[in-house]
């Protein structure tokens, strides 16, 4: 969070892989990752971050352990400044809507994001606007993701609730929407609600 707040106004990443339902972006700064569940946009496409990773630039080359003689983790990076260039932080986001001429639509966009498009973290007022409708929950509930959808839904609702005037009312309303989406899947509903309260 600390990191994000500092750079919230600017672009944070660039799309390096895109499909209709999701895209992958590489951060400009090492560890400059948006938190799990945060709302980002690139061009007109809105997406929610569901996965992030930091790894070596070259796929075959594994990082080595370097901290044996250092006292803090920070010292490792100070003594090997090249590390920031050899490692990269990437995140994946699931598309949850787009902006057309008139308004925000919470369903899949006609075109996926473009490669090299800049990715921005949504500002509080954008998040608030997006949180005015819960149609995106349907996409998240049904998305095939490498992480449990319950975790992602709970994380994104927690993120969104922070910018609302009445976070609790927002969560209750979202919970009710989920209850009707998951009307016959009480176990899933229960695990999401457990992560919200």
């Amino acid at each position: 969070m600390r990191f994000i707040n500092n750079q919230s106004s600017g672009k944070i990443a660039e799309v390096i892989e895109a499909e209709t339902t999701r895209f992958t972006a590489q951060c400009y700064d090492l560890y400059g990752l948006p938190p799990l569940g945060s709302l980002v946009h690139t061009g007109d496409v809105y997406a929610i971050v569901f996965n992030a990773s930091t790894s070596s630039l070259e796929p075959g080359r594994k990082p080595l352990a370097r901290g044996k003689d250092e006292t803090t983790e920070e010292d490792i990076y100070k003594s090997s400044p090249q590390l920031a260039k050899l490692l990269r932080s990437e995140f994946e986001a699931v598309t949850v809507g787009f902006k057309d001429v008139e308004s925000l639509r919470q369903y899949l966009p006609p075109q996926p994001a473009r490669i090299h498009a800049f990715v921005y973290l949504c500002q509080p007022d954008e998040v608030k606007e997006f949180g005015g409708s819960f149609d995106f929950l349907d996409i998240l509930v049904n998305a095939a993701l490498p992480i449990p959808a319950e975790e992602l839904i709970a994380a994104s609702l927690r993120q969104m609730s922070r910018v609302q005037d009445d976070p609790r009312a927002f969560l209750v309303a979202a919970g009710k929407e989920l209850a009707s989406l998951l009307s016959s899947q009480y176990d899933r509903l229960k695990s999401i609600l457990g992560r919200l309260s």
């Binding site: 209750v172 919970g175 009710k176 209850a179 009307s183 016959s184 009480y186 609600l193 919200l196 309260s197």
Partner: protein
């Protein structure tokens, strides 16, 4: 609480409408017997809540219930995964289609569409259904949990025989008193009340704090006459009576004895003997029969008479014992000084209602004898007059309502065919005479008679047979059964039938306090004024 309750999720004309409650609506606010409106696309439906239940969308919720100590989880699940639902029986269509607008509420013949919105019925809706107080309509109480007035069209009400039922102590007398006052004030009918427990004439007892409530006479001095069978008793209770009824031997007929058969414990042959003796002695049969055993007549003479009339000695003794009981009733005299029936008819003809008090004669035999005998003769008069009026194309006699208590004694399957009340109940208003039947054992009343009753008002009943007999033939019987069984033991009743557009559970209006007297008084005077104005208008037409 909001007015919107939920939406229709399932419906069938036969089984009623299933309504899923909205999240904010609490199941606990839904009371059986309440009125709701359903906003269909073309019609508005008016119905009653007949069941309330809880539902879950996923059965696993009931197996592993959520942590309800967490207010967040409780709030989210309420109205979504766990919800309340109500079962509504649609009764009428109000407004919407042309017919309903022109002719008022219509019986329901279809069902609302999917997801029609269900609201609590507003005061205006209820008023549209039950009407407001006017010269014909009398405010008898309020639908349960509501402020709206339930008004009964008394002109319609008195056109047919009606019944008031309920277990002992549930407020039958109270209700009857209110209704009688209403009829006195708002209908053209005159009443003849056989007042077994001296409750209606001058003063009645009340279980409230005051102990005493005003009777009919105190509402209309000139419109009510109190007749008594027991002058001394009436005097002790300081009741101003208009006439003391005495019955002469020659007024009693074998038919009267036949009605009393089981009460007097007579055999069939003993009743038959009464008919034989009348054939032998004519009008004075009772006096002659009683005299037969009184010393003067020798045993041979008696034997001779019995043999001639083909009566067995034991039947004769049985009859004599029964007649002895009648003879010992204080109001039965060898020769009545005045004809009670003539006096009663005189009063009724002048539009004066008659309350006949029984004083101390509270035994059922006295009640059966007097009520049956007087009613038979009065009915015969009405019958004759109605037929004459029809033949000559003149006005029919003023409608007469005869009020009887312990009705199952008169109208049981065995005697309904013999008593005059069975005839009146069946022939209905042909001769402008109808019954107001008060009873605690409706199952004892003949089915045919029950089926002919126009409007039934019932307080709490808990005997299965009684409930079945009261509700026989009513549509939505099972739903009404649920409502009936849940009435409070006192001061709540269910009314259904001819005079109301749909069954209603209601609380009778207050009666007995100074304020209630004032309200009754106002209603009465308004009616008089309205009637006078109407008369004036008609005069100028």
């Amino acid at each position: 609480m909001t007015d919107r309750l939920g939406i229709v999720t399932e419906a069938s004309l036969e089984r009623g409408v299933e309504v899923r409650l909205d999240g904010p609506v609490s199941v606990e606010d839904m009371v059986v017997g309440r009125y709701v409106t359903i906003e269909g696309q073309q019609r508005r439906f008016f119905g009653m809540i007949t069941d309330v239940s809880l539902g879950v969308t996923d059965q696993r919720l009931t197996v592993t219930p959520p942590d309800v100590t967490d207010p967040f989880i409780r709030e989210v699940l309420t109205g979504t995964s766990t919800y309340g639902s109500i079962h509504v029986t649609p009764m009428l269509t109000i407004g919407g289609d042309a017919e309903s607008i022109l002719e008022g509420p219509q019986p329901v013949k279809t069902i609302p569409g999917h997801f029609s919105v269900v609201n609590l019925a507003s005061e205006e809706d209820i008023e549209r259904v039950f009407g407001s107080e006017d010269p014909q309509r009398f405010h008898i109480g309020n639908p349960l949990d509501m402020e709206t007035k339930l008004c009964l069209n008394l002109e319609e009400f008195v056109k047919r025989s009606n019944g008031i039922f309920g277990k002992s102590g549930t407020g039958k007398t109270f209700l009857t008193r209110i209704l009688l006052i209403g009829m006195l004030q708002k209908s053209q009918a005159v009443n003849l009340i056989f007042d077994m427990h001296n409750e209606y004439g001058w003063e009645g007892s009340s279980e409230g704090t005051t102990g005493k409530v005003k009777g009919l006479k105190q509402w209309g001095q000139s419109k009510v006459a109190i007749f008594t069978l027991d002058k001394e008793n009436s005097a002790t209770r300081k009741v101003p009576t208009d006439f003391t009824v005495q019955i002469g031997y020659d007024e009693i007929t074998p038919e009267d004895i036949s009605v009393l058969r089981s009460t007097l414990n007579l055999t069939e042959l003993a009743v038959e003997a009464a008919y034989q003796l009348r054939r032998r002695f004519g009008k004075g049969w009772l006096r002659e029969t009683l005299a037969l055993g009184e010393g003067d007549t020798s045993q041979e003479d008696i034997d001779g008479i019995l043999k001639e009339a083909n009566i067995h000695e034991s039947s004769f003794q049985s009859l004599r014992r029964g007649l002895g009981i009648i003879q010992r009733l204080g109001f039965v005299v060898p020769q009545a000084p005045e004809d009670a029936v003539k006096h009663i008819l005189n009063q009724l003809d002048r539009g004066v209602s008659v309350v006949l008090e029984f004083g101390r004669y509270r035994e059922i035999s006295a009640y059966l004898l007097v009520a049956n005998m007087l009613s038979r003769r009065i009915y015969a008069q009405y019958q004759e007059r109605s037929e004459k009026a029809r033949a000559n194309d003149t006005a029919l006699p003023q409608p007469l309502v005869i009020t009887i208590e312990e009705a199952h004694k008169f109208l049981s399957t065995e005697v309904a065919g013999k008593t005059i009340f069975g005839t009146i109940a069946r022939e209905m208003r042909k001769y402008n005479v109808s019954l107001l039947v008060i009873d605690q054992r409706p199952s004892g009343i003949d089915e045919e008679v029950m089926s002919q009753m126009g409007t039934k008002i019932t307080c709490l009943l808990d005997n299965e047979k009684d409930i079945d007999s009261v509700l026989a033939g009513v549509s939505g019987k099972n739903e009404l059964k649920a409502v009936l069984a849940r009435l409070a033991p006192k001061q709540q009743a269910l009314i259904f039938g001819h005079a109301v557009p749909m069954p209603v559970a209601f609380q009778p209006r207050e009666y007995g306090s100074a304020q209630s007297y004032k309200e009754f008084g106002q209603a009465g005077s308004q009616t008089d004024t309205a009637r006078a104005e109407k008369d004036i208008e008609e005069l100028w037409e």
